[in-house]
């Protein structure tokens, strides 16, 4: 995978849909999206996760032309790690995020919400602010 301008390999992460949704309101979430633009992170995107992103963007009343560009970013080689074959219907958003994290080699989940209390998994669940701090180190 291509290194970004800082010379570091992009950090593989799973972006919870709330990071994209809040990215229009919250400065930390917006900065996470900018770090994606700049190649500092590369989101792991499964088919189920992509469907949720698209559902969210449609709910935000974003025009189809822009949604197509979001999909391009969420599926293009070098911009994301797109794993289109993984899909199981009827799961919760949390289960979909965990699956993406495991499929992406234990990539941390970046979310606005705190880690679920019943989470007994080994996957890191961090906030946008924590991710940004780790990128600055």
């Amino acid at each position: 995978m291509r290194a970004n301008l800082s010379g570091r390999e992009p950090l593989r992460v799973v972006l919870a849909p709330d990071v994209i949704g809040k990215g229009f309101f919250n400065a930390d979430c917006r900065e996470v999206l900018e770090s994606w633009r700049d190649g500092a992170i590369v989101p792991v995107v499964t088919r189920d996760l992509l469907l949720r992103y698209v559902k969210l963007l449609r709910g935000l009343r974003i025009p189809d032309a822009q949604i197509r560009t979001w999909i391009l970013w969420l599926t293009a080689e070098g911009k994301s790690l797109h794993l289109p074959d993984t899909t199981t219907p009827g799961r919760s958003c949390e289960e979909v995020l965990l699956e993406a994290a495991n499929a992406g080699g234990a990539a941390p989940i970046v979310s606005v919400k705190p880690k679920p209390a019943n989470g007994e998994n080994q996957v890191d669940w961090i906030t946008a602010g924590v991710l940004l701090k780790s990128l600055q180190q």
Partner: protein, 94 residues
């Protein structure tokens, strides 16, 4: 010239405002979509247009445009943060 026209290296160079050597090099490296018929490279204009559009969309400027236009749409829809929370809750239904 129609969108389905087949183009030579020289025509692509003129269209993209590049040197023919650059187009030839990119074609050899697989950086530009084309096919070799015998010893000659050939390109389809429609595919070149799609390739350029995708390249622009995947640039930093393309990301900024996507974000800004999405932000405008959110504002135009007068969506508040609590509306986003409702939408996010709805994502659990898949």
């Amino acid at each position: 010239m129609t969108n389905d026209d087949i183009m030579t290296v020289e025509e692509v160079a003129k269209y993209l405002k590049l040197k023919p050597q650059t187009v030839y090099k990119w074609a050899q490296e697989g950086q530009i979509p084309g096919t070799k018929l015998g010893k000659e490279w050939r390109f389809r204009r429609r595919i070149l247009d799609e390739w350029i559009d995708t390249s622009i969309a995947l640039s930093e400027g393309g990301f900024d445009l996507m974000y800004q236009q999405s932000l405008l749409a959110v504002r135009r829809g007068a969506l508040a943060e609590k509306d986003i929370d409702k939408l996010l809750e709805g994502l659990d239904e898949g």
